[in-house]
Each structure stands twice: as C-alpha cells, then as structure tokens.
C-alpha cells in the first residue's frame, strides 16, 4: 500500500519534471531571436527524445548499475528494469522514468548557451555524448553509489548532478563555439542581442517553477510527511532570489529588469535544489538571496569580462548556482523534518561537510569540463560545430530547417 502511494507520488513528480521540457523550450526560444526559434524548439524536442532512448539502453546502467570502483555502474544495460531497483518501495520502471526525465533536463540546459549558431547535426552528436556518458558517470558518483556518495556528499535533487553538469557542459560549449556574430564589438564591448518574446520567457519560468516542486520534492522517492518542508524551502528560495535580482537590477541599472529577474527566480531554484531537504526556511531564503546576487553579477561578468556568449544565461543560472547550492549545503545544513544529524558551518557543524561538498563539486567540475571540452573540440575539428556566417545572419530556421517560426508576422530587421 505504502508502495502504491510512493508510486503515485514519484510518478506524478516525474511527469512534472518531464514538463520542464516545455518550460525550457519556451524560455529558450523567448530569450533568443525569432530567426532561430524553430531551431531552439527542435533541439529541445530532440534532446528529450534522444536522451530518453539512450539513457534507457545505456545511461541508466552506467549510472545505477552495480558499482565499479566507485566510478561507474556496470550492469543493467539494454534492459535496466532487470536491475530491479526500488522494487519494494516503488517500482523499477517508475524509478527509471524518474531518472530519465532528470537526464533530459541536464542535456537541455546546454542548448540555450549554444543557441543561434550551432549546427543542428553537431547538436545531436553532443546531446548523445552528454546523455550517454557525461551525465551518467558523474550521476553515478553522486546518486548511484559512486565514490562521492560513499564520502557523504549531499546533493538531494541535483544542484550539482543535474544543473551544474548541464551548466558546465554549456560553459565548455559556449567557449569552444565562440560568440554570435555581432555580440562583441571589435574593441570587446558587449552588445545586447535581445530575445524575441518576453512572454514566452516568462511563461517558461512559471512552468519551470511549477515543475521544480516535482523535481525537488519528488526526489524524496517516497511519499513522506516531510515533503512540505522541501516545497517550502524551494519556494522561499526562488521567491527570495527573484526579489533580490529585481532590486539589484533596479539599483544597478536604474530600472527593474525583467529578463534578469526571470533568470533570478531560476537561479534560486537551482541553488536550493541540493539542500532543499536539509536547510531551514531562513537558510533557504539566504541561499536564494545569494543566488540572486550570483546570477546578476555572474551573467554580467561571464558576458562582459570573459566575453563568453550565453544567449539565455544558462551558465550563470545553472553552473554558478548549481555549484553555489552544492557548497551551501556545507554552510547551511541543519536538522530538519527530513534529515537530522548533519550540520553545516553556520550551524556549528564545522568544515567537514563543506569540504566534502567542495571535493564533490571539484570532481564533477573537472569531469564535465574535461569530457565536454574534448567532445566539443572533436566535433569542431571533424564535422564542425558552427553554421556558416551567412546562415547565422539569415537565421538557423531557414538554414537548418527550411522554415520560419512566424511566417506571417512582419519583423523589424
């Protein structure tokens, strides 16, 4: 009976996470130019489709198969149900479904950062690599019984395992492919390249915020009295981050900036994801406030100092706040209705947990950056990563897909 409740719970959480694909699709297309909209949407559709198949056959086994030296899983390929995971408290298929939609989320993050210039065929290739190898391996370390989980590394719903992994791959991709034409002036000044539809962007953020309750609370993998705690920390962190971002942009730019504030809400959600079960409400709020600052300054610095062109702010949102959320566990962990006995630095627990979190973050950062830089560079020097300048100017919708997103509307350009 309890098993049935768990199944209902985790199943519905899974489908909420699946809906994140809709959220990311409209968010990313809203934050890019209309001449690339079909391409953005197609990439979102395809990374979910490809990821679903590949993760089923290979990725799941690498992540949750029987542990090999703490490094990767090594069983359950082709037929992951045979592993029989969670057969008593849930059901293997529900667990696989839940993990599938998580994997797809990580893959989707990359597409935004490399939008408006990446060849579609190359996109498909690196999506395969991420779903097949990159995500499952570090996922094994954290959730699959690998060395980080053995060390006591805590990442409840995936600030590191999902968001930072996606964000780091996005970083490697954005650096390797280089900025969009016209993004930086010859003397290095950053130009604003506006997204074409803020309503799509905002709808995406509201959908994602909704889905995140499935993402975080569902990671309990069981119906439990404590899931309300997770919902509240998640919501308070996001609200605090959105507020902080709004006031910060107001203060710094003279007016409250909507597109940054939308990123701010997501930043709070990413940051609370690792510790949503182990921090208190005020802790969650502080984590959110810091996320708001991080995303605002982070996106600025990535863009203006490092001249890394990330059209939708994926690196600032997912990488920076994924890492921040991971470390924040080491700072804010305390007794909650969910877990007891682990305390972070600010709650008298000393540096122990923080160090573990730091090691985990470092290991994952190294893993993802190394594998992804290799992947992107191999693609770049073989099939090519980037469309031609002519195609980029005219737009990838015509170039890659032979169609337009809004064929009836008159555009200004």
């Amino acid at each position: 009976m309890e098993q049935l409740i768990n199944i209902v719970w985790v199943f519905l959480a899974s489908v909420m996470v699946m809906l994140m694909q809709a959220g990311f699709a409209v968010l990313e297309s809203g934050f890019t130019r209309s001449k690339n909209t079909n391409n953005v949407l197609m990439k979102n559709l395809m990374d979910f489709s490809i990821g679903s198949l590949i993760f089923y056959f290979i990725g799941f086994g690498l992540m949750f198969g029987s542990d090999s030296n703490g490094l990767f899983g090594s069983s359950g390929f082709i037929n992951p149900v045979s592993l029989g995971l969670y057969a008593d408290t849930l059901s293997p298929e529900v667990f696989i479904f839940f993990q599938t939609v998580f994997c797809a989320t990580a893959a989707t993050i990359v597409s935004g950062a490399m939008a408006e210039r990446t060849k579609f065929s190359s996109y498909l290739i690196y999506t395969v690599v991420i779903s097949l190898v990159v995500y499952p391996i570090s996922g094994h370390w954290i959730w699959g019984g690998g060395f980080l989980s053995q060390m006591g590394f805590i990442d409840f719903a995936g600030s590191m395992a999902v968001h930072a992994v996606g964000g780091l791959a996005a970083l490697a991709g954005a650096i390797t492919i280089g900025p969009r034409i016209g993004k930086y002036t010859p003397d290095g000044k950053s130009n604003a390249i506006l997204g074409h539809s803020i309503p799509l962007g905002a709808l995406g953020v509201f959908i994602l915020w909704f889905c995140w309750f499935g993402f975080n609370a569902g990671s309990s993998l069981e119906a439990a009295t404590y899931v309300g705690h997770i919902a509240m920390t998640t919501n308070l962190a996001a609200a605090a981050a959105a507020l902080a971002t709004m006031f910060l942009t107001w203060f710094r730019y003279g007016k409250p900036d909507i597109s940054m504030t939308l990123n701010g809400a997501l930043a709070g959600l990413v940051a609370i994801t690792a510790g949503c079960h182990i921090v208190s409400m005020p802790g969650a709020i502080i984590i959110g406030l810091v996320a708001g600052f991080l995303v605002t300054f982070g996106i600025e610095i990535i863009d203006q100092k490092f001249r890394i062109d990330d059209p939708v702010g994926a690196i600032g949102v997912h990488m920076l706040n994924g890492v921040w959320g991971t470390l924040a566990v080491g700072l804010f962990a305390t007794d909650t209705p969910v877990v007891e006995g682990i305390r972070g630095l600010f709650y008298g627990g000393g540096l122990d947990q923080l160090i573990v979190q730091g090691i985990g973050a470092g290991a994952v950062i190294a893993w993802v950056l190394v594998t992804c830089f290799i992947t992107f560079n191999v693609i770049k020097h073989t099939v090519g990563l980037r469309v031609t300048p002519e195609e980029e100017i005219r737009g990838l919708d015509i170039g890659e897909h032979g169609s337009e997103a809004y064929p009836e509307f008159t555009l200004k350009h």
Partner: protein, 113 residues
Amino acid sequence: MKKLEIIIRPEKLDALKELLMDNEVKGMNISNVMGFGSQLGYTEQYRGTKFNVNFVSKMKVEVVLPTEKAQKIIEEIKAKLRTGQVGDGKIFVYAVEKTIRIRTGEEDEAALG
C-alpha cells in the same frame, strides 16, 4: 496632382484622418515607419546592457490629391496637429504624374474621386 507624405506621431492618426476627410479627401494609405530626427530615441536595457533605440515609431500617411487642395490641407495640419514639441513630424510634397483607378481605368482627378 500632388502626393503629401505626412509623418506624424502615431497618436495623432485619428485627428489627421478626420481632418483629411473634412477636406473630402477620398483615400489614403497609412504605414508605420521608424523615424529619426531632432526627437531623440530612448535608452533600453537588457540584462544590464544599456543600448540606444535611435528610431521612434512614426506613422506615415500618404495621400494623393488635386493640387488645389494641397495648400489648404497643409495649413490645417500645421494648425491642428502641432503639439509644439519636438517630434511633431513633417510633410513632404511630391508631384504625381498620373493616377489610375484599377477597377475602372479612370485617370487622374477622376481616379481619385
């Protein structure tokens, strides 16, 4: 026949239309253009990057009419569409050599009727 090309603030369109109709103008075309002139654009920002929008939205009204009517209408526009603030717009006058009504083949003044 003359063509008046009248560039105005979008919010003045109704007033101009009324003025033209009071003068028994029989037809016109409107389109929206982005204008640049003494009136400055404004600054927008996107994720912290400020940038100038140099062009402001203007409405372009094109009306072809008999030469006699042109001067009177110009005077009325000057009187009624003026706000006195930079950006009120301009009237450009061109010669039209010929006008044909496709439906009937009528020409010139008859075509405007």
